[in-house]
């Protein structure tokens, strides 16, 4: 299937986010793709609050089935979340389970004032009542396929389609 240009979607997302973000807004990217995206958006929007990154491996709801992810990286939230407007950023919004895990982790840092969600691609098929406020594009992807953001050696974004591993 033809995949949209990730660079164009990123510009679109930055344009939408610019309208909703203020100086004190905290961008939080979900590792790995969401953190790349947050880095880029943070630079383009010139926000003064440093960006954060979450590795949700310790909060996943499939730990009993899938075990611990092999390459866990530390989460970093370099600002006080209490009362703050936070935009969680992920590359692809799908079942909503990753976002739930990210929100649970955020609340272990404090009580945010407001959490919004930005995604480069919304592929639908939600399993939880979660919706994104900022979306680059909506796209229908065949079941059994995984859509992810990738980066080439020059840092240019592109989308890739993988075969999902059969459930363990």
């Amino acid at each position: 299937m033809d995949l949209p240009d990730a660079e164009a979607l990123c510009e679109e997302l930055a344009r939408k986010l610019r309208a909703g973000a203020t100086e004190s807004t905290g961008l939080v990217g979900i590792r790995t793709g969401g953190a790349w995206l947050a880095e880029r958006l943070h630079r383009e929007l010139k926000l003064s609050t440093p960006m954060g990154a979450l590795d949700i491996s310790f909060y996943r709801d499939d730990f009993d089935v899938a075990g611990l992810h092999h390459q866990v990286k530390p989460s970093q939230i370099p600002f006080d979340v209490n009362g703050r407007h936070i935009v969680v950023i992920d590359d692809v919004l799908y079942t909503g389970r990753t976002v739930r895990a990210a929100m649970n982790e955020l609340f272990d840092y404090g009580r945010p004032g407001k959490i919004e969600l930005a995604a480069l691609v919304d592929r639908g098929e939600r399993q939880l009542p979660i919706a994104a406020q900022y979306v680059g594009a909506t796209l229908s992807v065949p079941a059994g396929k995984l859509l992810r953001l990738a980066r080439d050696e020059r840092g240019k974004f592109f989308l890739r389609l993988y075969d999902a591993k059969p459930a363990a």
Partner: protein
């Protein structure tokens, strides 16, 4: 024969000894531990990984630091922790080790953390329990203390970044030390090129060279130019017979003083698994001095034990 610590998929099912574990497994544990360090700096110092799981701390031998850090690690992973001090309980009434384990399994234990004065006790339990139960060796006799070895290499990696080109000296009562054995296996697996053991003939096991270490009886010669000094506790409670003239004599030859430490590299770190005998194996001015990383070792130990528990529980 299959490594009894690994399951049919080759994943870590139990942690019994560092000996024979592949390098990737050790690195995975260290990397995961690094991610747990930040958890303890949050408002909520817990993650939900082991929610609903029961961890039984089975201590057949006294311990404060190890038992407490295992308890904290399990609680920060949201597990329910049950501490059993068995010396004061069933075994004095005649119950066998495996009967005790069977009874606790019937209480739906998911993980056992075992310390025992007999080498092989944790292996015995690991071979006995159901396939969904995990066993961590928290020290068995003179054999192994794998989480201590892991927190030691975590500490070394934290301060020295890399193992290539590193000289590590392990000093003192190596003969009775499961800590030394686990650390030697970890260091050689990770490729540390120069591991030295230093001690009197009576406190070094025969054939220790076969583990890939060099042997020194003169501490000044052994410490020359090393990056890491690991002092071992003089295990007087384990010593039977006249292995040593006296603690004072030992300190003269093998106690770490500022003068002896000056022979190591200027940025050398000093480690000790605890509990320390000040004035026996280590001088107070060294233990509390700028080279000492003895207290950070304790803090890192919690993150390392969280990593081991969560990796086991997920496999």
């Amino acid at each position: 024969m299959r490594n009894p610590q690994l399951n049919v998929d080759g994943k870590l099912q139990h942690l019994l000894t560092i000996e024979g574990l592949p390098r990737e497994v050790l690195v995975h544990i260290l990397d995961t531990a690094a991610s747990f360090i930040g958890v303890t700096e949050r408002e909520v110092k817990k993650v939900p990984l082991l929610r609903g799981k029961s961890v039984f701390n089975l201590f057949f031998e006294a311990s404060t630091r190890t038992r407490t850090t295992f308890e904290i690690a399990a609680k920060r992973l949201s597990a329910d922790v049950i501490n059993l001090n068995i010396t004061a309980s069933s075994s004095t009434k005649g119950e066998t080790l495996l009967d005790t384990v069977d009874n606790l399994s019937a209480m739906h234990a998911d993980m056992f953390v075992v310390r025992h004065s007999s080498s092989g006790a944790a292996h015995l339990i690991a071979n006995h329990v159901a396939s969904h139960v995990h066993v961590i060796n928290a020290g068995d006799g003179r054999h192994a203390h794998p989480t201590q070895g892991l927190l030691d290499i975590y500490t070394i990696r934290h301060y020295k970044k890399d193992f290539t080109g590193l000289s590590v000296a392990i000093v003192g009562d190596v003969l009775h030390s499961r800590v030394a054995r686990s650390l030697i296996h970890a260091l050689t697996t990770l490729g540390a090129p120069d591991v030295r053991v230093i001690g009197p003939r009576t406190l070094l096991p025969t054939g220790v060279e076969q583990l890939g270490v060099s042997v020194h009886h003169d501490m000044r010669e052994g410490l020359a130019g090393c990056d890491v000094v690991v002092m071992l506790r003089l295990q007087s409670e384990r010593m039977k017979g006249p292995l040593l003239p006296s603690a004072q004599e030992f300190f003269k030859s093998y106690g770490l003083t500022p003068q002896k430490l000056a022979l190591a590299k200027p940025d050398a770190i000093v480690m000790h698994p605890g509990p320390m005998n000040r004035g026996v194996e280590i001088d107070s001015s060294v233990a509390d001095g700028p080279h000492s990383v003895i207290l950070p070792q304790v803090t890192f130990g919690i993150a390392v034990r969280m990593a081991v528990m969560s990796i086991l529980a997920g496999n």
